[in-house]
């Protein structure tokens, strides 16, 4: 350990090489791309330098649609999934029988291919000429009329997307919260019991503050994850998300790079940087808010 030589760098070399080529260089490069105007990927030439790419992207109705969709998705799925996960974890932590079985089932979506299971969701919700689909069967049972969730009205599609996203992100949240709850020392609950604290008060005054760092962590990772949503939408609505009005920011970036409207790395870069700025801003905001409310 005392020996101070440079052999360490040799061990780090592969990591540095790959991280440099595929992480650091792109970071610089993407910023440059984003300000090169009129870049042509075939001739690798550009007219000038400026903020036109950003202006183009921010005026592109497809991007605005993607931005709106992503924000709605984030605003709905993060609070919904976190609170349901909290409820389920509380339930899991208060039982002993069958606990492992429930945990095993609840974690299952984590190991499934988002695209594959998304297809199943699509079929469950799809309304075609041949069938109204299973979801509509239930709606009809409760007296509602059939809705086309996949090719129908905007909010119906958004509902399915949110529903599926919650389904996909739940395992991680349930697992994390369950272990956080289990790590709260039993002695605090005993003390609260002796102090005649009601169940609700014990939860709000003791349990919640004690697990607040984890809840906060989940909210942040939830935000970041939801802002990067793409695969779920593709699974449900196909690759032409612009036509389905269901595109997301990452989807827009991919489409700009390669796809029906592809071949514009400059626009894609500008989009990627806008995404990064949004995520960074929201994370910082979260950090600021948490300073006040999260107990460490």
């Amino acid at each position: 350990m005392e020996k101070n030589n440079n052999k360490g760098w040799l061990y780090l070399l592969p990591a540095i090489a790959f991280l440099g080529l595929f992480m650091v260089y792109p970071l610089i490069d993407v910023s440059i791309y984003s300000i090169e105007e009129g870049y042509n990927s075939a001739s690798q030439s550009f007219f000038g330098v400026g903020l036109y790419n950003y202006s183009y992207v921010l005026h592109d109705p497809y991007f605005l649609q993607a931005l709106k969709n992503t924000f709605i998705l984030v605003a709905i799925t993060v609070p919904v999934s976190t609170s349901i996960a909290l409820l389920i974890s509380l339930g899991l932590n208060s039982i002993t029988k069958l606990k492992v079985m429930y945990q095993t089932i609840f974690f299952l979506p984590y190991v499934t291919n988002t695209l594959a299971v998304g297809l199943v969701f699509m079929i469950l919700f799809n309304k075609t000429a041949y069938t109204d689909g299973f979801a509509n069967l239930i709606i009809n049972y409760f007296g509602g009329s059939s809705v086309d969730f996949i090719n129908g009205p905007y909010w119906a599609k958004m509902f399915v997307l949110c529903f599926y996203t919650v389904w996909v992100v739940m395992p991680f949240k349930v697992l994390t919260l369950t272990s956080a709850l289990a790590s709260v020392n039993q002695q605090y609950y005993d003390a609260a019991k002796i102090d005649s604290a009601s169940k609700l008060r014990t939860f709000t005054k003791i349990t919640l503050p004690m697990i607040s760092p984890i809840v906060f962590y989940l909210v942040i990772t939830g935000f970041i994850g939801a802002f990067k949503a793409y695969g779920d939408a593709v699974a449900l609505f196909g690759t032409d998300l612009n036509a389905a009005e269901m595109n997301t920011i990452v989807g827009y970036i991919c489409d700009m790079l390669y796809g029906n409207s592809g071949g514009y790395p400059s626009y894609a870069s500008a989009g990627a940087i806008i995404l990064f700025v949004i995520v960074l801003t929201i994370t910082c905001l979260n950090l600021l808010i948490s300073k006040k409310h999260v107990y460490y």
Partner: protein, 291 residues
């Protein structure tokens, strides 16, 4: 005695309350369990319905009396499902093993070796953890295209084999090994490399295994990068494959065959999950995220 009975009463109502609360909890948990399991049931069910019977059900049936495996035959013959499978397998195994090699060496350097600029390098590494993949795919796409590696395994694998997060995870684990072991090995004349392979890796096997499993799951389910880098169906992984099947596969309406393909794609990971449930869940609880 009046006292005694009132206490009993109190006890009884407390018990009844507890039972009611338990019933609600189990109902909630079971409800969510059904929500999780139903899509899996539905894909299995649909995959064994015949094409004609599926299309004749305007109201979908919750069971079938005439199961068939025709859809599975179709899934492997009508579309190159086994090809997608092999591609994913090659992609997953090579990416995971390369990633492991790089991770082990880097984590070892950070945890146990002393060299100039180590703490600076480590800070830089940590800073990279905040960079989202989505930010760099644009350039990576261009880089890989310029290297002529689109539609190759190398192009699929290379950008994702250096993972700062896993290096960090393993470094933490390596650091828990007491320094005395290192000194003892030094006294015995063991080289750094031999020490790594004979002492560190065997001791940290569980963590390394967890990292491997997490990476494998990540690879098996990855979509965005493979979608960008492959447009030749010969190099599709299962995620693209499923999308391809959906859009151009068995004809848009052959849902049962599609579901058979979905089942085939989902099964390997589910089997892996049931075998390694504990280490997967512990690994994820330790610091994995989805996406």
């Amino acid at each position: 005695m009046a006292n005694q009975s009132s206490f009993e009463k109190l006890n009884k109502t407390a018990n009844a309350k507890k039972k009611a609360a338990n019933a609600i909890i189990y109902a909630l948990l079971s409800f969510w369990a059904v929500m999780i399991l139903f899509p899996f049931y539905w894909m299995l069910l649909t995959s064994i319905k015949s094409y004609s019977s599926y299309n004749s059900e305007f109201k979908p049936m919750l069971y079938t009396l005439k199961p068939t495996i025709d859809n599975y035959k179709l899934a492997f013959t009508a579309v190159p499902l086994s090809r997608y499978f092999m591609n994913t397998l090659i992609f997953t195994i090579s990416a995971t093993s390369l990633m492991l090699a790089i991770t082990v060496f880097s984590a070892y350097a950070f945890a146990k070796l002393n060299f100039k600029g180590k703490s600076f390098a480590f800070t830089l590494f940590l800073a990279l953890m905040m960079i989202p993949n989505e930010l760099v795919i644009v350039t990576n796409f261009v880089t890989i295209t310029n290297l002529g590696m689109r539609n190759t395994y190398l192009g699929l694998v290379l950008p994702s084999i250096a993972s700062v997060f896993y290096i960090y995870l393993l470094k933490e684990n390596f650091e828990q090994i007491p320094a005395e072991l290192y000194y003892a090995a030094k006294v015995d004349g063991t080289s750094d490399l031999a020490y790594l392979f004979k002492v560190m890796i065997p001791i940290c096997k569980p963590t390394i295994f967890t990292i491997a499993i997490l990476k494998a799951i990540e690879c098996w389910n990855s979509y965005v990068w493979p979608r960008l880098i492959t447009d030749d169906a010969n190099y599709f992984v299962v995620s693209n494959g499923i999308q391809e099947i959906r859009e151009n596969g068995f004809g848009r309406e052959n849902i049962p065959a599609m579901m058979a393909a979905v089942v085939v794609i989902s099964v390997p990971l589910i089997i892996l999950y049931f075998i390694f449930r504990k280490s997967i869940m512990e690994g994820v609880a330790h610091g994995g995220t989805k996406g």
